[in-house]
Each structure stands twice: as C-alpha cells, then as structure tokens.
Amino acid sequence: MSADQHRFVSADRRVREDRRFVAGKGRFVADIDLPDTKQVALLTCPHAAARIISIDKRAALAMPGVHYVLDGSELAAATLPLMTGLDTPNVPRRPLAVDIARYSGEWVAAVVADTRALAEDAVEEIDVRYEPLPFVLDAE
C-alpha cells in the first residue's frame, strides 16, 4: 500500500482539539452561564439495597428558591428506561431509582433550585424512608 494513500494508518497523529484543552481554551457545558438557568442536585441512597417506602418532599419544596423535587416514579412515568446494552429485561435501568435502590449512591431524587448550593441544601431536607434489603458484596 502506498504511504500517501493510507496516511492515518499506523501513524502517530495529534488530536486537533487537544491544543485548546492544554492551553485553557476548552469550553464545557459547565462554562455556559445562561440567564435564569436552574441548577440540579441529586439525593443518593445511603443503603446498599433498600425498598423506598416514601419520599416526603414538603420541607424541601417549602425552601425559598427551590422549584421542583423529582422522584423516580414521576420520572419513570414520563420516560422510557435507559438502554443498558445488557440482556436483563427484568432490571430496567432508570436515572432515578424506582421503588428499590440497588446500590449505595444510586440517585433517588433530583432537586431543581435557583443555585447549586440551594439545591444541595434542599436535598438534605428530603425525607426518604427506606426499608433496607439484603445485599451481596461479590459475584459469587
């Protein structure tokens, strides 16, 4: 094969966009500051496995600057499950846990507020009652 025909094959190439990233010229979604943008903070499950008994949003919603508290059931009713790439039809993956949280740190609810700090504070005011479930720690 001739070299000029295959100039990308087996050749060290530089990435076109790297230059701007190493020089501090990157631009990310977090850099975009549109007026009146609302911020989201997420509530995570503290249990390795737990049934979600109830989610009391009232205290969070009563805070000034808090606009919405979204839970898994409401989101699931309005959206399709995420694609998992795995053949596990009985375990639909959802952005926010529905009924059962399956790992510590799984997102359970999302708060929309005027600022990230407000949203984070409001997350702490959501009162979730869990029923911890048995869990496994390894594949065996």
């Binding site: 790297d18 230059r19 990233f21 190493v22 020089a23 501090g24 990157g26 990310f28």
Partner: protein, 104 residues
Amino acid sequence: MFAPQAEGTPITTIEGVTPGPGELSPLQDAFCETHGLQCGYCTPAMILAAHALLADNPDPTRDDIVEAISGNLCRCTGYAQIIEAIALAADRIRGRNRPSELRR
C-alpha cells in the same frame, strides 16, 4: 487547598504556563503527544500539578508523578498517558541544553 488559603499569594493558571501566543510549554506539548487527555476537563489541573512538581523536582520517579497528580480525577485516560506525558516533558526539559547527538 481551598481558594481562600491562597489569599495574598501569586496564582498561575493554565493560561500562564503558555510561553507565548500560539506556543505550548514542553508539558502542554507532551500531553498532546502522548494523548494525555481526551475530554480535556481535568487537563489544566493536571498540567499545573505537573508544572509544580517539575519546578521542585526535575527528575521525578513514576511514584513522584503519581503522587503529584493524585489530587485530580481523570475519567478518560486511565492516567497512564498523563504519567507518560509528564515523564516525557521532564526528560525534554532536563535535556534542553544537551547536544542533539546525546539526546535520546
């Protein structure tokens, strides 16, 4: 370190390590060469951490490099190419005044 702890001290950001308009420092260049980045989000902090390391220690071991960047998270590269970039830049900076026939 929290930002208020730096009050009253000179601060260099990523824009400040570029030697001139359109130029890259040896570290910035090495990151491009070894593919020490993908999305670029962590890159300024990685490069600044490496600059601070090389300012104190021009001939760092792999462990020194790992320690120096340990405060930063990168979700793209798996760190290997970042470590490679810093080692490459250190070697080039040390060899800057070496006659070309002695350079690796």
